[in-house]
């Protein structure tokens, strides 16, 4: 187990380093550069000044040299200054991470609370009427463009019914808990609807597979109640692959909520990443993208560990790192 974990950890670090270089290089290719922006904002600046500034910020160095300097500073915990927020990039990132955890966490719990029981329920009679309708609903959830779903929900709940705010967070001082929940409702609903389909279909497939096994037939032959067979014999085994997929999905959610956060002006990681890329805030974009990658990698690692822990048939040495 330790060896397996060590290998996976090492691999994750390699991916993270590679990603940091790729993103660093790509961000250098974005429209505009910091010195151009300084020249635009100060008409008295001469070409010589621009050259000096470039040397001062190390922008006259080749790409690899600049990346190396950035990496050394980053490893020392210095990720530079955010242009948009006018404070250190890490300080700007932290509140966004908290907002995203609230949004993503709530929607994740809601989605699983609906998807898992419903998946188990329809798996009892695959091909039945309930199964067919639920299946169509799942396909709809997987296929709907996220921004369009957000627009439709805003149209219905904010414009037509006037029940909920169309976006943002409570800004008034002393906003009550109800106000917070009202602002959270539509983005959470959007994200949950987008996730339910995938998890439900997966739970259903795993459950159908489990119900086909011999030990289920044995349990039925012993005369156990159908509920007992379903919940204590089939479900635990069906949950193993589901846990893996859930762990995989959770890591990706932090950047995957990008569209939803933008549509509802929710100040989370996804909106921060988008705003920093569009706003030429290179330092912030870099640290936010790397953080998102780190979370995805952690999700993958958790998925592997969970799989190995839950299924005793898997020997760690056999798992390909």
């Amino acid at each position: 187990m330790t060896r397996f974990l060590g290998q996976r950890l090492l691999q994750s670090i390699v991916v993270l380093l590679a990603m940091s270089f790729v993103v660093y290089a790509l961000i250098g290719l974005m429209p505009g550069d910091p010195i151009d922006m300084m020249i635009k904002s100060d008409p008295r600046m001469t070409a010589a000044d621009a050259q000096r500034l470039k040397a001062l910020y190390g922008l006259d160095q080749p790409l690899v040299g600049r990346y190396w300097a950035w990496l050394q500073a980053a490893l020392a915990g210095n990720f530079g200054y955010s242009r948009l927020f006018a404070r250190p990039a890490l300080d700007a990132l932290w509140p966004a991470v908290q907002s995203t955890v609230i949004l993503v966490g709530t929607s994740f719990v809601l989605a699983l609370a609906v998807a898992l029981p419903a998946g188990v329920w329809v798996a009892r009679r695959p091909g039945g009427r309930a199964d067919r309708w639920v299946n169509l609903f799942c396909f709809a959830g997987i296929s709907v463009p996220p921004f369009w779903l957000a627009i439709l929900l805003i149209m219905l709940f904010a414009v037509k019914l006037g029940l909920l705010p169309a976006g943002g967070v409570p800004t008034r001082a002393g906003a009550g808990i109800g106000d917070h929940i009202a602002h959270l409702a539509l983005p959470v609903l959007t994200l949950a609807l987008l996730q339910i389909g995938g998890y439900l279909r997966f739970m259903r497939a795993a459950m159908i597979e489990a119900l086909r096994q011999d030990y289920v037939r044995t349990a039925e032959a012993k005369g156990l109640s159908p509920m007992r067979v379903l919940l204590s014999h089939a479900l635990p085994n069906a949950l193993i692959p589901v846990v893996t997929v859930v762990a995989l999905g959770f890591g990706g959610l932090f950047s995957g909520a990008l569209i939803t956060e933008n549509m509802f002006a929710w100040p989370g990681m996804g909106k921060l990443i988008f705003d920093s890329i569009m706003g030429n805030d290179f330092n912030l974009a870099l640290v936010a993208l790397l953080f998102a990658t780190l979370l995805t990698l952690l999700g993958n690692l958790l998925a592997d560990i969970a799989y190995a822990l839950l299924d005793p048939r898997i020997v760690y040495a056999e798992l390909k790192p």
């Binding site: 991916v15 290719l29 396909f139 805003i154 569209i259 549509m263 996804g270 988008f274 998102a292 995805t296």
Partner: protein, 293 residues
């Protein structure tokens, strides 16, 4: 093949999806004919007819700068369907090559390619696509005229989605290749001195075709979703070219003035993607000999 067709035909939802996709594609392909029939230029701005309701001249009304909505939906469909097909096929070609080589060569080669695949899968997809779509091509030495041409936005989006989207097919093909290459007919071909590329293309590829077909059908839907997201954000297909995604860019501001403008393009994306997904799912079952009902 007839067996697969027989089983697919029994799946009503999959057949309906195939028909819907065929209908959408034919209408999209005929968009120049519709433009000529209606006698309207889809990019013609008419500021006196902004947001006009549906009428005999404009069956679906006009948008916020007076362009005919129906014609732009048809043209947008052409763009969105082309991007979906082209990027899905390009991903399939890259993924098949990587999977075939990794699975056939094995050893270190396989290890390296699969680690690369794992690495790409671990990347945060959407933010990375946004960065790639926002890159200033002139900094890569592309001339400014070429870099800002609307056609360039089309090819660029196909290229970046293919660059990131090949991993699913690569994994599937590698897995299938690993199991096919140990079979007798492959051994026989090797012992006859057949060159590796010929073994891979002639002997292995036909036997790993089913997962490629299924994954590619499903990925057409996914690509159309991604294209619509990027175009919606203003990073995909560039105006004046319409795509279903960029037609929704202003929809949020016009939500009270012209709610239907926000409904049609999204409904078409939704219909196309769900049809691709249901068809892909049906194909998967039809191609799997174990899944007889």
């Amino acid at each position: 093949m007839t067996e697969v067709w027989r089983r697919l035909r029994k799946r009503g939802a999959a057949m309906a999806s195939a028909l819907i996709l065929a209908a959408l594609a034919s209408v999209a392909l005929l968009s120049p004919v519709f433009a000529a029939l209606l006698g309207i230029d889809p990019n013609a701005v008419d500021l006196l007819q902004r947001l006009s309701p549906p009428s005999a001249g404009h069956l679906f009304g006009t948008d916020d700068i007076g362009r005919d909505v129906l014609l732009r939906l048809i043209q947008g469909g052409q763009v969105s369907l082309f991007v979906g097909l082209a990027a899905a096929l390009a991903s399939a070609v890259i993924g098949t090559l990587v999977g075939l080589i990794a699975g056939y060569r094995g050893g270190r080669f396989d290890d390296a390619l699969m680690r690369l695949t794992d690495g790409v899968i671990a990347l945060p997809l959407l933010p990375l696509l946004i960065v790639l779509a926002a890159i200033d091509l002139t900094k890569l030495g592309v001339s400014p005229e070429l870099a800002t041409a609307p056609a360039m936005s089309l090819y660029r989006i196909v290229a970046i989605i293919a660059l990131i989207g090949w991993t699913t097919v690569a994994r599937l093909v590698r897995g299938a290749t690993l199991s096919v290459r140990t079979q007798d007919f492959v051994e026989a071909a090797i012992s006859q001195g057949t060159p590796p590329w010929r073994i891979m293309l002639v002997h292995i590829l036909p036997n790993v075709a089913s997962p490629i077909v299924v994954a590619t059908t499903l990925s057409v839907g996914n690509v159309i979703l991604l294209e619509s997201v990027l175009s919606f954000l203003g990073l995909g297909i560039q105006p004046p070219w319409p795509s279903w995604g960029n037609m929704l860019t202003n929809a949020q501001e016009l939500i009270t003035a012209a709610p239907l403008l926000a409904v049609w393009p999204g409904l078409l994306i939704f219909t196309t993607v769900i049809a691709c997904n249901i068809l892909g799912d049906g194909l998967q079952d039809a191609l799997d000999p174990k899944a007889e009902n």
